[in-house]
Symmetry: D2
């Protein structure tokens, strides 16, 4: 299953080169992940069980620059690669459909003592 979230580039997200700063794309990916947690009612489940989804690794390729007011579509697929939950994001320009960036975010669900926990099945199905 593919999730979709939309993000419009904000003026303060540009750096001194006039384009979206590379680190900001990780914010966009994180936002897409929060949206998915929310749609699946996992945000409350995690909160009640003091679980957090921590990022263990990121691979991201920047293909085209994004600029102010650009509307972006983030399409996300989840894969369980135990003990990791991996988010595959493709960020496209909403109107031209050009790929802006591709990211692979490897996360692990942990409790307060940083012990890994199983990701609920409902999360990946």
């Amino acid at each position: 299953m593919t999730y979709e979230s939309r993000i419009t580039v904000r003026g303060y997200e540009l750096d001194s080169f006039g384009h979206v700063n590379n680190a900001v794309f990780l914010n966009y990916c994180e936002e897409a992940q929060w949206q998915i947690l929310r749609k699946k009612n996992l945000y409350d489940y995690f909160f009640r069980n003091s679980l957090i989804l921590v990022v263990a690794g990121v691979e991201i390729r920047y293909i085209k620059e994004a600029r102010v007011f650009d509307e972006l579509v983030v399409r996300t697929r989840l894969k369980r690669e135990a003990p990791y939950l991996v988010f595959h994001h493709v960020i496209r320009h909403a109107t031209t459909d050009e790929i802006i960036a591709r990211a692979r975010i490897k996360t692990v669900l942990v409790d307060g003592e940083r012990t890994p926990h199983d990701v609920p099945d409902s999360f990946v199905e």
Copy 2:
């Protein structure tokens, strides 16, 4: 040659999980890169020639969490892998020497029209 820069974690860099947010580590890497540009007097050279060093790709692994007031050491090696200039960063805790994160930032030097330019030899030697 290895470059070294130091960064102390700031309170506002923590996210709601109480640790440094994953995207902030890309800020730390970028800061290390700016420091290297500066030491090599390349910042002025780039500025005068309207060249910018854009990030083409990032691979980063998060090994340990960083928390407020932690002092971090970023050790950086540069490699030319034409047409890319690649920064290899190892971020360690300054007192315990534990590795916090490892990153590989692939950059390319471009002009205003986004045409790739050769990186001056002095940059990599």
Copy 3:
């Protein structure tokens, strides 16, 4: 005339206290200002004339905390108080209509040499 823009709180905008960090509200105000520039076609006008709207002063009161996924409405009025252009923002919770913050952002339009320029009449009318 009152402008309106909408912002949904993103997870990475929370700080370690679990609420939107105080500095992030200035990002929200700036975003509202960019939206207004855009609606009035002033972004292109400023860009072509190398003009930028710099912030000279801010007064902001934080009335209620904002949390992840909160939908906010930013209502903005502009006043010319020569040589300043002042944005008055009221940020409310979209569903409860509660006031989250009030801000007064004093800006001045300057060119590359930081000489103040008149704000086009069409901007304030």
Copy 4:
């Protein structure tokens, strides 16, 4: 008593106008405040008692632009104006001593239920 903290402008803190973004100065002020909490051993005290210092209001005037690599000195005085604890920051350029910005940050110490608490005397003396 006046506290002093030092901050060097980082490249990623610049916005598309090539200067430090207005919201980033609130980060600098917050950082100065965390440093003061730390020097006074209040960070642990607050943490143990589940108290947080929330920002109730900000007034800031931007006097000169700050640019990449600028070294800044933040000098801070605290005043108790019950129920508020107010931080008065003056941010200067470290070498020229020029004033970059002046800020007044009004905070209130609250517990988990957002009930205001007295600020320990040792904090203001």
